[in-house]
């Protein structure tokens, strides 16, 4: 059964189409929710509820538009609510003072070679931590744009906000992300002629601080 056929079934009150949609969207949805709430069990609950809500509100869904963004909006909104409720945001305003922005060009290679794997691993973990420190709304826009790969137009449509607002939210989220990781990257970006031995020492020093 194709997705459109499954949705048509649901709109007619036939639950046969539901399994197709669950199997197709559950992984992306649970992972997206996990990135926002940082808890797999909670994320699974959110997505399960989202499927139930989607079934109940399927009459509101316009079949001329893709199902994914419509469904992900339910997931993301619920995730934001939960994340805000749990107050997992850590305020680190003080740590942002005096940062230097030198991070842009360091984060370039998704598949590092053996010599760089240590550095890449460090960067990855630092970015994870930085992501954790974003507000639920900021995480949500980052997840929608860069994980769910929704276009700005789709985000505009689903969040029902003007494009300028979407751009602003994304800009602020990325800016905050840079600010969170820049203090570390500024240290990690040593003078050009610094030896590899020195660089590793510095990194290890920070890693185990």
């Amino acid at each position: 059964m194709e997705e459109k056929q499954a949705i048509t079934c649901l709109k007619q009150g036939d639950l046969n189409g539901l399994e197709i949609l669950v199997k197709r969207y559950q992984v992306q949805a649970v992972q997206a929710a996990s990135l926002i709430v940082q808890d797999r069990a909670v994320a699974e609950d959110i997505v399960q509820d989202a499927f139930i809500i989607a079934v109940e509100k399927i009459h509101q869904y316009d079949p001329e538009r893709p199902f994914g963004p419509w469904f992900y909006r339910i997931v993301v909104n619920a995730s934001i609510k939960v994340a805000e409720h749990h107050k997992r945001l850590i305020s680190l305003e003080e740590e942002q003072e005096g940062v230097s922005i030198a991070a842009e060009n360091l984060l370039v290679d998704p598949q590092p070679g053996p010599e760089e794997s240590f550095e890449q691993e460090e960067i990855r973990i630092r970015v994870w931590r930085a992501l954790d420190r974003l507000s639920p709304n900021q995480k949500a826009v980052i997840v929608m744009r860069h994980f769910l790969e929704m276009s700005e137009s789709e985000m505009m449509d689903q969040l029902q906000r003007p494009k300028s607002t979407i751009k602003y939210l994304l800009h602020e989220a990325r800016k905050k992300l840079r600010q969170f990781i820049s203090p570390w990257l500024a240290v990690q970006n040593p003078p050009l002629k610094q030896s590899n031995t020195m660089r590793k020492t510095i990194r290890k020093g920070i890693w185990y601080e």
Binding site: L15, V22, Q26, V30, Q31, R40, Q48, F51, V127, H146
Partner: protein, 259 residues
């Protein structure tokens, strides 16, 4: 930041928190719907049964369910914790402003509720043997007639009755011996304080409709106290209330005619 790498990091992080190979929600979702629709997957009909006909909202049985659920809300710590954020006190009534109907919680099993049938008797019978002394309004809008049957709680704590007109308009009145000790579940921003004969009263605009959503034009209800009894008077029509101010004026006049 490089978008490609950010995506890679997000995917990596998501895979660690929730590995795709371990995600399978279908059994629990299937179980959820099967509990309501044992024949899942079944051809057609299932979803329609979930919905609650809006016309039922004024029926005494469902009204009783709502009242009981409200009581459970007041005692369930888990639900209370969530609801407290939105609970307000208006004219002596505690209102719980919610985005979704408590019926949804009931349907989903997160709130326990007891449903029972309320005895219905004719108004003459009720007046011969009233559960407690109460007064009917002197003024009723033109065209409305009191329905023959009234509902009286088993506990004798409240009585409800309806007036109807040929155009589908319906006015409902419920009189309680004691002030509700539970939170009234209503839509966000739907309540305000008014006066009935110079006394504080609660006005609620709207009602719970299909899909568990608050419909601001679904109904209008006034809550007030007089002579130690707690009255609520509500109006609903065949469809959305076209002139809310007119409906409110009508209810206020009727409420002020209760001696």
């Amino acid at each position: 930041m490089n978008n490609k790498y950010l995506k890679y990091i997000l995917q990596n992080r998501a895979e660690i928190i929730a590995p795709r190979s371990e995600i399978d929600l279908w059994p629990s979702i299937q179980k959820h719907f099967s509990s309501r629709h044992p024949a899942l997957p079944s051809p057609k009909g299932g979803l329609r049964n979930i919905k609650i006909k809006s016309s039922l909202l004024w029926k005494p049985v469902l009204l009783a369910t709502l009242l009981i659920m409200s009581l459970v809300f007041a005692t369930s710590s888990q639900v209370r914790a969530r609801a407290l954020e939105l609970v307000k006190m208006i004219a002596g009534y505690q209102v719980d402003e919610r985005s979704e109907s408590p019926l949804k919680d009931y349907e989903e099993g997160t709130v326990q509720a007891t449903e029972y049938t309320i005895p219905v008797m004719t108004m003459p019978e009720a007046l011969v043997n009233p559960p407690f002394p109460f007064n009917l309004p002197y003024w009723v809008p033109e065209g409305y007639t009191l329905k023959e049957n009234v509902a009286i709680a088993n506990s004798k704590e409240w009585i409800s009755m309806n007036w109807v007109n040929p155009n589908g308009g319906e006015i409902f009145m419920l009189v309680e011996k004691q002030q509700p000790q539970y939170n009234l579940p209503i839509g966000v921003g739907s309540s305000e304080e008014i006066e009935i004969n110079g006394q504080q009263a609660l006005l609620v605009k709207g009602g719970w409709a299909n899909a568990y959503q608050w419909d601001p034009a679904r109904a209008v209800v006034i809550y007030w106290e007089i002579n130690g009894l707690y009255y609520r008077l509500g109006y609903s029509g065949n469809g959305p209330i076209a002139d809310m101010n007119k409906a409110i004026a009508m209810l206020v006049q009727m409420a002020e005619s209760v001696p």
